[in-house]
């Protein structure tokens, strides 16, 4: 009975982990290219969640279609914030970009609060369940997990098979070298930031497909923290590292949830958070460059 429960939770953990991974790729991409830590990361996830909610509740549009819509909004937001804020701060000390992205996060939260109010919301997307024998997985979670994998694969192909992708990779490796090869480095920075934000906002859709409740303007904070743990697991500057970091994190979170639930008098969900940050601390102590790819 216990092992069935654990196996079931781990299967769901794979789906959750894929979504977590996808939700961290934008953070790693932006850090990898621009060396900017987007502290407002979770707020962009929250924007994605509200796009899903507005489209679904307001217009009856399926969350699956909300993914490209959120990606488009994210690209636009990314370009807007890059040219108005980030571009001026690239060469500034790190504290400046930390404060700037933190402020962008607060700005987004307050704008969303102004429009949608601050109460907790949710939506009810009924698409059935699938019985995997050991566990029953709602189709929405399955879509979210598979969608995340598809997006990660697309991103990989785009990076490695397209001219624009190769330009971005070269900027990550050496921006001066990229300039010498005729890459428009300024444009590569702008589009990397936009792509990172686009992925993050789109991940907000996938996260609500997994957890369609608790949508509110301040939901992003927890995701920012999780994304940092995952990014560090994956080596911070690599989007694919982040994806695998997410898988590991999803498994740890769901696996430990099952284990903690066995302890009497313990609220297991609170302890999973404790565990994730313990993991972050331990990794930072023993391998400060990340687990998967250390540089």
């Amino acid at each position: 009975m216990f092992f069935e429960l654990l196996a079931g939770n781990l299967i769901q953990g794979v789906f959750l982990g894929a979504v977590y991974g996808m939700a961290t790729m934008g953070l790693s991409l932006i850090f990898g290219v621009l060396k900017v830590v987007n502290v407002g990361h979770g707020a962009f996830i929250m924007v994605g969640a509200f796009i899903t909610l507005a489209l679904f509740d307001g217009l009856g549009i399926s969350p699956i279609l909300a993914i490209p819509a959120a990606f488009g909004v994210g690209l636009a937001l990314g370009l807007f914030f890059y040219y108005t804020v980030i571009q001026r701060l690239i060469k500034a000390p790190e504290l400046a970009t930390l404060l700037a992205t933190f402020s962008i996060g607060i700005l987004l939260e307050e704008v969303i609060k102004l429009v949608f109010g601050s109460e907790f919301r949710g939506y009810n997307w009924v698409v059935g369940k699938i019985d995997l024998g050991i566990t029953v997985v709602p189709m929405s979670k399955l879509y979210a997990g598979v969608g995340s994998v598809v997006i990660a694969v697309l991103l990989y192909l785009w990076f490695n098979r397209t001219r624009a992708g190769s330009a971005m990779r070269s900027v990550v490796e050496d921006s001066e070298g990229a300039r010498v090869c005729g890459v428009n480095v300024g444009a590569a920075y702008a589009w990397s930031f936009a792509l990172g934000i686009g992925l993050t906002v789109a991940s907000g859709v996938l996260l609500t497909m997994f957890i369609p409740v608790g949508i509110n303007p301040y939901m992003g904070g927890g995701y920012t923290l999780k994304a940092f743990v995952i990014a560090v697991l994956g080596g911070l500057a690599s989007p694919y590292g982040a994806f695998f970091g997410g898988l590991v994190f999803g498994l740890i979170e769901n696996g430990s949830y099952t284990l903690f639930a066995l302890l009497p008098g313990v609220e297991p969900f609170a302890l999973t958070r404790f565990l994730s940050f313990m993991i972050l601390l331990v990794i930072l102590l023993i391998r400060p460059t990340g687990l998967l790819r250390g540089k």
Binding site: R163, S166, A167, R169, S170, E173, D174, E176, G177, A178, R179, V180, C181, G182, V183, N184, V185, G186
Partner: protein
């Protein structure tokens, strides 16, 4: 082919270039000599566009390119071999060279240029699947030069290509630079501290000091003038 007129630039409040002017003739190797810290690299970077110009003019084939963005200059056939190599360390040698063919006009010539640089540096062919970061300093310099050749340039600017190399490799680099002129038909602007080697391979020489051009002439004229040699080159 390249005319620099009264160029001014610098970093922050510090002016480095004080109106140097020079001309690079098509099909020539033009060398810019001078000790460290006189603004030679800054001159190349300002011409290339990595450092924004404050004043003056850069003409390329008679066209004013002073404020043309760097990537467009690369499209126009201007290439730079930067000081400090700036390779893509985790990419293979082949991938580094392929990145050199990034400009749209260089892409159709990718395989042909690849054969050309492998002929110039046979060792790179042996190392083509190795990560660029794992190569020796000399091999990395070969990749840097090759990557610039892959952009299908007309004018190639080299920033101290012999710096930090063993004497044997220095000779190889200079032989390659002469081959670029004679075999490939490129125009070369070469920055060097190594006065002897440059004087032997260049067609025309400028001497730079304190951010401006102090003397110019053919290598024979420079060698023949003990004043210039003693004042600026220390030989």
């Amino acid at each position: 082919m390249l005319d620099v007129k009264d160029l001014e630039s610098g970093y922050g409040p510090m002016q480095v270039l004080w109106k140097p002017s020079l001309t690079v003739k098509k099909g020539n190797i033009t060398s810019l000599l001078g000790p460290n810290g006189v603004g030679k690299s800054t001159l190349l970077e300002t011409v290339f566009g990595s450092v924004p110009p404050w004043g003056g003019q850069v003409l390329y084939n008679g066209v004013d390119v002073t404020r043309v963005p760097t990537h467009k200059k690369v499209d126009m056939g201007l290439a730079l071999v930067p000081e400090g190599k700036h390779l893509f360390p985790s990419m293979t040698v082949y991938e580094n060279l392929a990145m050199g063919a990034y400009p749209k006009k260089a892409m159709p010539h990718r395989e042909k240029n690849m054969q050309l640089v492998y002929a110039l540096f046979p060792r790179l062919k042996e190392r083509s699947e190795q990560a660029a970061g794992s190569l020796s300093g000399g091999e990395q310099q070969m990749v840097t030069i090759s990557r610039a050749l892959m952009t299908q340039p007309q004018l190639i600017m080299l920033d101290e290509p012999s710096q930090g190399l063993a004497p044997l490799l220095v000779r190889e680099v200079f032989e390659t630079i002469v081959k670029m002129k004679t075999d490939i038909g490129l125009t070369v602007l070469l920055i060097e501290q190594n006065a002897d080697a440059s004087l032997n391979s260049a067609d025309y020489v400028y001497i730079m000091h304190e951010g401006t051009i102090k003397a110019e002439g053919t290598p024979e004229e420079i060698k023949g003038s003990s004043e210039i040699r003693e004042a600026y080159l220390g030989i």
